[in-house]
Amino acid sequence: MASAAFADSRWIARGAERVSLPRFLLWLAPWAALLALGVYAAGLCLYYGLNQTNMDNRFAFGLWIFLDLGIIALGAGAFFTGFLVYILKRAELRPILNSAVVLGFICYSGAVAILMIDVGQPLRAWFTFWHPNTHSMLTEVTFCISCYLLVLCLEYIPILLRNRQLRRLPSFLVFEHQLHKLVPVLAAVGTLLSFFHQGSLGGLYGVLRGRPFAYRAGFLIWPSTFFLFILSAIATGPSFLMLVTATVEKITGHRLVPQEVFRRLAFISGVLLAIYVAAKSVDTLIWLNITSPAEGFAPWQFYGYKPFGTPILFTEIGLFGLLPACLLTFRATASRRAWLLTAAAMACAGVLLNRFVMTVQTLALPTLPFDDFLQYTPSWQEVASFAGVIAYGVIVYSLSYRYLPLFAPLKGGDSHVSGD
């Protein structure tokens, strides 16, 4: 009925089939509600302070840091695809590039938003730029992430400007065209920045001499986790891309990218994952046998507490590492969509588990002989504000998908399966 009143077909790219506006709004409604809840929870934390969370002096980092590290790792698909397309000239991945950029933008902006709630004095956060401590991994992270977020914005704008209505403004068109020439440069810069902050995020924990569970020997100023984090991020980024694209295809009922893009991504992801697993295993052995004993900590001490037994280690490296690596690499499995997606999901789960262990287990474990093992359960405010970020992501992605050319249109009949 009213749908005619606010028909938005003028804004939708020609030839693209999109569900009716009311149906689209229906889809957005629950996410908007979730976002509102998240904003409310974040507001509570900002107004009343972090006593709204369940963090404490021993568990100074909680759910937020874990999920920040998680989504930033998954968001790595953005820079890595850019890197493949523009630097390594893998043109066949171009169809998925825009979607990758939008995903990256969502992950990073979301992470930064959460970080702003997570610090006790957000208004002083900018001091890092004024009085930076160049020895701190967190400084490196702060600089790179904020710069890279800027890069992502610049990469996002041209996609934005390719909207059917916006591109009718001549000046915008020119601007977009100029900017587009810049994109390969941006991709290069983004790659550099990303390599650094993905690494620094790993370094964040690897340098913690006082936390033998996280502390790693390394090379020059960088602990081994620096390189492991980069590897795991670029290995799982593509898998996450596949997952999201597949999900979008399922929801919209459109085939969006050619199958061989998937296979290509899967292969890259699989190979890198295999390398990562090898490196991670070596690192773990060195750490357990040399680094941590040197600090006076016997390895069994780390895995003596439920639920953080050795199984969690093997799950991370084997079940969610080696297995998906194989599944993604070998044609036999990679060509089967079901296997492919399962493997991708496992890879993502693996990187999340790794970030979880690095953040949460590190803090839960005792250091002093008379410390006890600590439990921590996030408060609803922590969960809600993060759920808000997820919702924000879904909304931004849905809008981008609806109004922007995220995926290059495929030739051949794309079947319109109904679904929302």
Partner: protein
């Protein structure tokens, strides 16, 4: 000129009365937090109860005051602070926390192996009129920043000023004694200059009974403990004893 202030705490003399904790809080304008828990409170010096892990008549218990160890080498918190809110003072070796610079990221808290750093989870508040009882030498910290033992820096300020007014360059050691040291009823906490080999504390720190917590981390803490009891000295090394690990 440059001193290396440190402490030697004689654990055999500690009765766990808690005087040091209250005296410290009073000296440094640490608010009392009725809404806090042992995990969210502000206790720049915290006396912890330790045992030899046995039961019945065999059981021995002791107390061990934990505060900032003022690590000398590769100081974990200094290294990680993104905006130089923590530094090791060249003149005194004191690890300084600048609450006004701190953005409350709490990275230093995760870096500290001794859990000697505390976050202001709440706004500092005192009942009406009680602001009058605040120590004029210490600025009150605000919500959302990390704080820790600054070795009663206000007392060092006062000592410096007194010395300057008297036309002296060096402070008189009796003018600079941290609150916890002054408060201890059994004289268990000894404070002095570890760089001065004539300082009794410096000698004590080298005694065979002396030890440091987690010394093998290599951060060179300037807080020493000493005990004649073997099971207490055993606390120096490593992490939780096997007995406790099983029922984790």
């Amino acid at each position: 000129m440059s001193a290396r202030y440190g402490m030697v705490i004689d654990l055999d003399r500690c009765t766990g009365c808690g005087s040091c904790m209250v005296a410290c809080a009073a000296e440094n304008n640490v608010p009392a937090l009725p809404q806090a828990t042992p995990r969210t409170g502000l206790t720049p010096i915290l006396v912890r109860r330790v045992s030899n892990g046995r039961d019945g008549a065999e059981r021995r218990e002791g107390f061990i005051p934990i505060m900032c160890m003022h690590c000398e080498h590769d100081t974990p918190c200094v290294k990680v602070c993104p905006q130089q809110a923590v530094e090791v003072d060249k003149a005194t070796g004191i690890v300084m926390q600048m609450p006004q610079r701190c953005l409350g990221c709490r990275y230093c808290m995760t870096a500290c192996p001794y859990h000697a750093r505390y976050f202001n989870w709440w706004d500092p508040a005192w009942p009406t009129g009680m602001e009058e009882s605040l120590n004029p030498g210490v600025a009150v910290r605000m919500r959302g920043v990390v704080e820790k033992c600054n070795m009663c820096h206000a007392r060092l300020h006062a000592a410096k000023e007194k010395a300057a007014a008297a036309g002296k360059r060096e402070i008189d050691p009796v003018d600079y004694i941290p609150a916890c040291v002054e408060a201890c009823p059994t004289g268990a906490i000894h404070f002095g200059n570890l760089a001065d080999t004539n300082d009794p504390v410096c000698k004590e720190a080298r005694s065979p009974d002396a030890f440091r917590l987690l010394a093998r981390l290599g951060t060179e803490p300037k807080l020493y403990y000493k005990s004649k009891e073997a099971w207490v000295r055993a606390l120096a090394e490593s992490s939780a004893p096997a007995s406790e690990v099983q029922h984790g």
